[in-house]
Amino acid sequence: MKSFEYGDREIGTTEVVYGVSNMVIGFGVLTLPRSLAAMTESSDGWISLMIGGGAALVFGWLIALLCARFPKMGLSDMTKAVANGAVANVVAMLFACYTFLFVGYETRGLANISKLYLFDRTPEEAICLFFLLVLAYGVAGPSAALLRLNLIFLPLVLIIVFLVLTMNITFFNMHNLKPLFVTDWQDTLKATKGTVFSFLGFEIFLFYNAWANRPKAMKKAILGGLAIPLFIYLIVFVFVIGIFGSEVTKNTLYPTAELAKQVEIPGGFFERFESIFFTIWVVTLFNTAAMAFDVTIIALRTLFPKPKRMTWVIWLCPLIYLVSMQPQSVTEIDTFGEWISYAGLAIGWCLPAVLLGVAKMRRIKGNEQAS
C-alpha cells in the first residue's frame, strides 16, 4: 500500500481471491449437478464434490507454494529457473494452446446456453461474434484491470445464486436427499472426475503471479478463492437434489438454470427468472474467458516478445471464433470441454506440481535467480 502505483501493474490479495473464484465458477455450476446425479445415487454426489474439491485444494496449495517460491515470476520464468529456456518455451506454448482452446470452448458454451435461455432465432454464430468483440475489448486493456473486474462481477454472481436458492427454499424437500451413503466407492470416484474438472481454471494465476504484490499471501488467497466455488457447488448441488430429486436432475440439461426457472418473483413483477439468472451469469463467463484469453496473450508474448498486445488480440480473435465454431452439437461441445479439461489437468495442475518437486530437489529459489 505504500506505493502510489497500485493502479497499473500490481495485483492485491483480494484480487487473487476473487479472480480464482470467478475463474473456477463458470459452466461448472450449471452442469455439475446433472453429471453428479447421473453417476451417484441419491444425494451422495457431495462426497465426490468434497473429494474433487480436496484435490483442487491440494493442487491449489502446490501452485501457491510454487508462486511463493518464485515471487514476481510468471510460469515461463519459473520453468526457466528450474529447467532451461527451451523447456520454458514448450511449457508456455502448451499453456497458451490450453487457454486458447479454453476461450474457444467457453465462447461456444456461452452461445449455446444463450440460445437455449435467451434467444429463439438469433444464430449462435452471431452470439459468439458479439461476445468475442466484447472479449477483445476487455483483453485490450491491462491485465490488472481485468483482475479488478472480478471485484465487481463476482458479488453480482454470488448475489444471484443466493437469490435463486433462497427463493426456492419453499420447494426444498428433505426426503429427496435421503438415503445417504448408498453409492459404492467406485462410482463415487468416477464421479469425482467431473468435479475435479469443474475446479479447473485457477492455474492461470501461475502467470499472474508476476504481478502479485504479496507472494507470501498467495497460499491463503488461492485456497480462499477455491473455497468459495466449493461452497457454491455443494450448496447448489444439495438444493438441486433436494428440489428436483435425483431422477429429474439426471435428465435435465442445466439443472441450476431450471432452479432459476422455478423462481416466482413476489408480485409477479416479471416472469422467467432464468433469463435474468443467465444474463447475470454471462458476466462470470465473460470474466473467465477474458482472463484465459489474457493469459494466452501473456504466454505468447513470453515466446514472441515483439508483437504488441493489440496485434495478438486482433490475430487471435478470428482463430478463437473458428475454434469455437468447430463442435457441431451439444455432445461435441461436451467432448471438446472434456479434452480441454484433461489438458488443463496435465498442464495446469500436474506440471506445476512436477516443477515444484524439481525445484525442491534442486533447491532452486526465485529470489536468487531473479537477482
Partner: protein, 509 residues
C-alpha cells in the same frame, strides 16, 4: 517571473527616463485605445511632474482619485527640484510616504508595466526616473455570492463561487483556517493571462497527486482558457471516455470537503466552476447533502441515486429487450396491456424508443437555450402536448412515454450534470445493443462499461475505487453513508498522509 510571449521582443526593453517618451511608448504599444487614461500631474504643485496611466474600465477610479492623485497633489516636499534629493529618492518617497494604497511595486521593465496596466493597475511615470511605480488599483464589478443555480441543495450553505478568483480563494480559506492550506498559482493563457490556482492541504494530500497535477498544469499552453472546462479537457486522463474525470462544482463546501479528504482543486479566474481531482465514479453520485442530512436519510437518498443511475442507463434498453426479444418474461396481464398499447404502433420498439429519447434530448437542449419564462412553456408543450399527441397519433405507445419520462427524471437526479449527460449518452448505446441482442446485448454493454470504468484512472487514481480495487474501510461512506461518528478515517484509497479526521470519543480523550 513574467512569462512574456517569446515572439515579443519588446519584453526586454526598459523604461525611459523621459516621461513624454514613456507616454508615447505606452500609447503606441497598446494602440492608443480609447480606455487608456493618461493623467499628468505636477507633484504638490511644484516643478516636478509625473504621469499616471491606467485603463479606465479595469481600475478603481475612486482609489485613483482619492488615494493617488490627491495624495500626489499634497506631496509638496517632493515637488521641488532644489531639495537635494536625487530622483530615485523622490520615487521612493512617493512610494513610501505618499501613496495610501497597500500594493505598490517598483519595476523598470516595459513588459511588467504593460502587463500590470492590462490587469487594471496604475503605472506612475516620474519625470527623469528609471523606474516606474505600479499601483494596485484593480477593480472589477463582481456579482454577489449567490446560491449556485446548477447545484441547489435543500439543506446546506447558500454560497457559491463567483468569477473572481480572490473571492473564491477567500471562500475556501474561510472554511478551512489551516496554515497548511496551499494555493499554488499559475498564469494560464498566452494572451489571456488568467490566474489559475491549484489548492490542496499539505500534510493530508498524497504528494504524488500534487506532483502529477502540477506536471499536467505546466503543460498547458493555449491562447486563452475561457472556462475551467478547457483546463479539465487539457489535463484529463482519457479524452475518449464518456465519464468526467474531474468533478466540477460551484459549491465551496464541496471543494472544502474534497480538500479535507485529501484531494486537490483547481480554480480558474473568470469562472465559478472549480475542478476537483482526482475524481472517482462514486463521487459523481454523491452530493454534499448526503452528509448534511441525518445518516439514514443520507443513505437512502444515496441509494436512490444509484437506482437512478441504473434506470437512466438501462430502463429503455430493458423495455426494448423485453418487448422485442423476451416477451415471455413479461407477466401475462402486463404483456396483454403492452400488446394492446402497441397495437397501432407501426415501428419496432427500438425505433420507437430512439425517436422518443431523441425528442427528449431535443426538449432538454431547447429548454436550456430558451429564456427562462419560455423555457417552461417548452417543457409543457414538449412534455405534455407532444407526448399526448404522439400517443394519440399512434406513433409511440403510452408505456414508452412512461419509460422515457422516468428515465429523464432519473438522469436529472444525478448530482453531477456532466455525469448525467454521460449516462444519457451511454443509454443510447444500451438501447442499440438491446435492439440487436436483447438482454444479452444489455449485459454485454454493462460488461464493457464496467471494463472501461475499471481501466479508467484519474490522476493515477483508479476511477472505480473503492469498489475495485477494494478498500473495505471506505465502504462505510460509499453506498451507505454511515453515521458521522463512524466516519473517523479519511478515504483510504487516496492514501492520505494524515488518516484520522475525527475522534469518535470526542475531545476529552
Amino acid at each position: 517571473m513574467s512569462e512574456s510571449a517569446s515572439d515579443d521582443k519588446r519584453g526586454e526593453s526598459y523604461v525611459f527616463p523621459d516621461m513624454q517618451e514613456n507616454i508615447g511608448h505606452i500609447r503606441r504599444m497598446l494602440g492608443d485605445p480609447a480606455d487608456l487614461v493618461i493623467r499628468i500631474i505636477s507633484i504638490g504643485g511644484g516643478e516636478r511632474s509625473c504621469a499616471l496611466a491606467f485603463l479606465s474600465g479595469l481600475s478603481d477610479k475612486a482609489v485613483i482619485d482619492e488615494q493617488i492623485v490627491r495624495q500626489i497633489l499634497k506631496a509638496g516636499r517632493f515637488g521641488q527640484e532644489d531639495t537635494g534629493m536625487d530622483i530615485s529618492e523622490v520615487l521612493g518617497g512617493l512610494r513610501n510616504e505618499t501613496m495610501s494604497v497597500s500594493q505598490v511595486l517598483e519595476v523598470n521593465l516595459w513588459s511588467d508595466v504593460i502587463k500590470a496596466v492590462l490587469y487594471g493597475d496604475t503605472a506612475m511615470f516620474l519625470e527623469g526616473a528609471d523606474d516606474v511605480l505600479l499601483i494596485g488599483t484593480q477593480n472589477w464589478k463582481e456579482r454577489s455570492i449567490d446560491e449556485p443555480p446548477t447545484e441547489a441543495l435543500v439543506r446546506g450553505p447558500r454560497e457559491g463561487f463567483t468569477e473572481k478568483i480572490e473571492t473564491n480563494i477567500g471562500l475556501i480559506r474561510r472554511g478551512i483556517r489551516d496554515m497548511n492550506l496551499r494555493f499554488v498559482s499559475y498564469t494560464i493563457g498566452r494572451r489571456s493571462r488568467k490566474t489559475l490556482i491549484l489548492t490542496y492541504i499539505q500534510g493530508i494530500i498524497h504528494p504524488a497527486i500534487v506532483e502529477e497535477a502540477r506536471r499536467r498544469l505546466d503543460t498547458i499552453d493555449i491562447d486563452d482558457a475561457p472556462e475551467s472546462g478547457f483546463i479539465e479537457q487539457w489535463i484529463e486522463d482519457s479524452f475518449l471516455s464518456p465519464f468526467p474525470q474531474l468533478l466540477h462544482t460551484e459549491r465551496p463546501d464541496k471543494v472544502r470537503a474534497a480538500l479535507l479528504q485529501g484531494k486537490a482543486a483547481v480554480m480558474l479566474e473568470g469562472t465559478p466552476f472549480a475542478l476537483i481531482l482526482p475524481t472517482t465514479f462514486v463521487a459523481l453520485i454523491q452530493s454534499p447533502e448526503d452528509y448534511y442530512e441525518r445518516w439514514l436519510i443520507g443513505s437512502l437518498i444515496r441509494l436512490l441515486r444509484y437506482l437512478a443511475v441504473i434506470i437512466a442507463l438501462f430502463a429503455p434498453a430493458i423495455y426494448i429487450a423485453l418487448v422485442s426479444f423476451h416477451q415471455g418474461m413479461i407477466p401475462f396481464k402486463l404483456a396483454f396491456s403492452i400488446a394492446a398499447a402497441r397495437e397501432g404502433v407501426p415501428f419496432p420498439a427500438i425505433i420507437e424508443a430512439m425517436v422518443m429519447e431523441g425528442t427528449l434530448e431535443l426538449l432538454r437542449e431547447a429548454g436550456v437555450r430558451l429564456p427562462k419564462p419560455i423555457g417552461q412553456t417548452i417543457g409543457i408543450v414538449g412534455g405534455l402536448v407532444i407526448g399526448e399527441a404522439a400517443v394519440q397519433a399512434g406513433v409511440v405507445s403510452p408505456i414508452m412515454v412512461i419509460i422515457v419520462a422516468v428515465t429523464a427524471i432519473s438522469s436529472f437526479a444525478i448530482p453531477s450534470y456532466s455525469a448525467g449527460i454521460a449516462f444519457r449518452m451511454l443509454r443510447f448505446a444500451t438501447m442499440l445493443a438491446a435492439g440487436i441482442l436483447g438482454l444479452f446485448g444489455i449485459i454485454l454493454t454493462f460488461i464493457m462499461i464496467s471494463t472501461h470504468l475499471v481501466r479508467l484512472r484519474s490522476f493515477g487514481m483508479p476511477y472505480s475505487a473503492p469498489f475495485a480495487p477494494m478498500f473495505i474501510t471506505d465502504w462505510r461512506d460509499l453506498v451507505i453513508r454511515s453515521p458521522v461518528t463512524f466516519l473517523t478515517k479519511r478515504p483510504e484509497f487516496i492514501q492520505t498522509k494524515n488518516i484520522n479526521r475525527a475522534n469518535k470519543r470526542g475531545k476529552r480523550s
